[in-house]
Structure formats: C-alpha cells, structure tokens
C-alpha cells in the first residue's frame, strides 16, 4: 500500500490504454450530456468536433478510472477536495485509444490533520496520435504511514 511518503514531486504513473467505443459515448451522453454531437456520428461530423465525440465529462470520468487503475487502488487515498484546472484540449472521438500519465507536482502534509498529506498531481490524457486531449491539475488526500511503521 502506498502512503503520502511515497509521493515525492516528480513521481509518475502511466495509464493503461483504453479504447473509447461509440456505444459508450452515446450511453454516457444519453444519461448526462444529451447534445447531438455526443449522440450521433452524423451530428458529430456536422459540429466543430468533427465526429461522434465524448462529452468532456466522460473524458474526465475515463481519466478518473485511469487514475484509479494506475495508483489510487494501491494507495491509502482519502479522496480529493477538488480540481484546480481541467482543459479539454482536443475532442475524444469514437474509436480513439487513450492513455497518458499522472505526475506529482507537489506534496505537503495537512496542517489541520497531520495524518493526511495533500498531493497535487497533473493528469495528462493523450490519444493514439500522441496528442494531448485533456490536462487536469488536481489534489489527492493521502494517508501518511502509520506512526511507528518503518515499512
């Protein structure tokens, strides 16, 4: 299990590639973001996105899953207070394969809760052409190693 002490600035985790299927784009959009360019190839082509495109909220959620699979599942994580910035740089189109990395920018302990550290990270999602589709600066609360533990 990784703790706060395992997250010095510069630590980097790689995302496992994920292919975004048309049916997943449409299902997410139908539930949360039912705009034409997220619901049909035809409407997507007619929009400035250029094809059936994932909602930015779906891209965000996919990044979250990549964060879980890359480090959160093996970390004493206690959630996030927020995201300082999310940029949706390029459309995510049906059939795109996303991957990327997240990198620790800064790590400090919480003044009010000394058993918790606050780690600032940057997630970067790229497509199969190496183009950045999303950049996210966010914070993650992570428990410190238990006192007396020398593991």
């Amino acid at each position: 299990m990784l703790h706060f002490e395992d997250f010095p600035a510069g630590t980097r985790f790689a995302f496992k590639p994920v292919t975004v299927k048309a049916e997943d784009i449409v299902a997410f959009a139908a539930e949360f973001d039912p705009q034409p360019m997220h619901l049909s190839e035809e409407a997507g082509k007619a929009s400035i996105l250029g094809g059936l495109a994932a909602s930015g909220w779906q891209t965000s959620a996919i990044m979250m899953r990549m964060l879980c699979d890359s480090y959160i599942h093996q970390t004493a994580s206690e959630g996030s207070p927020g995201v300082s910035s999310m940029e949706w740089k390029k459309p995510v189109l049906a059939g795109d394969t996303l991957s990327g990395t997240c990198t620790v920018i800064e790590a400090r302990t919480s003044r009010s809760r000394p058993e918790i550290g606050i780690v600032q990270l940057r997630g970067e999602v790229i497509n199969q052409r190496g183009e950045t589709v999303a950049i996210c600066d966010y914070a993650n609360m992570i428990r410190c190693k238990p006192a007396g533990s020398d593991a």
């Binding site: 909220w57 959620a61 899953r65 959630g79 999310m86 940029e87 949706w88």
Partner: protein, 155 residues
Amino acid sequence: MRLSEVHPEGTKVMIGSVAFTADDIIRFAEKFDPQPFHLDAEAARQSLFGGLCASGWHTCAGWMKCFVPYWLGEMKRLAAEGIEPPKLGPSPGFRDMRWLRPVFAGDVITYFVTFVAAKDLESRPGWRINTILCEGENQNGEAVIRFESKVIEFP
C-alpha cells in the same frame, strides 16, 4: 443575442435537480471511480466521508444533466419571444472545481448557473469565451460543488 445579454451578470439561475440513489452512485463508480467509499456502504463508513457517496465526477455530470435540458428550454423560450438564442459551442474546460461536501446516497442536488463574464477571442472574430459559475447544493441547502466553466459562443 449574446449570452451576456440573455443572462445578466451575477444572476444565479436554478437549472434542475438530480436525486442520487445508492444504485446510481454504485453504477457510476463501478465504471469510472471504483473506490470503496463510492461502492460499498460499510467501507464508506470507515472512510473520511462516513457514508456511501457519489464520485465527484458523478456530481459534475449531474450539473451537465440539468444544464442541457435547461438550455434547450431557454432556446425555445427565446425563439418564441422572437429573440435569436445565443449559439453556444463546446467547453474547453473548467477551473477551481471544489467538492465542498460529499453527496451521499439519498441526497437530492439542485444545480445553478451564474453568468460571470464574456471575453472576445482575438484569433476568431465574433467568437467568445464565456465564463459561467456552476454550483450545486443538497436538500439542506449546503453547497456540495462549485466550479467555473468556459463555454465557446459562436457569432
């Protein structure tokens, strides 16, 4: 008409509500955010959150779920009044997202939008980037989420 004319600066508008059931919270989390406090009530009680709660991204998606039908309604309303509605495009992103309180199973979140500012894009005449404040509060009137979103507006 431009968005800045339709929505006077600083006017907070209610756009709708979403009820977060335990089933919906777990279904979203299984797909996108499978952490114990979003999947399992017992594990959630042991966490800092203290109970089964929605992924923060689920809470965000709830805002969008309300905004799309709200905006379709606004476009219809303006057209019926003989006003050409603003042509909104995709969003390039958001900033300063704060998950202020957990959204627990059974909570009903009411969402709001407030027009903040419009900026002309120098590179594309007539195009604008609007900044809007997006907020949500629970059934007790407690703020659970806030963020500032950007929205492209075409001429």
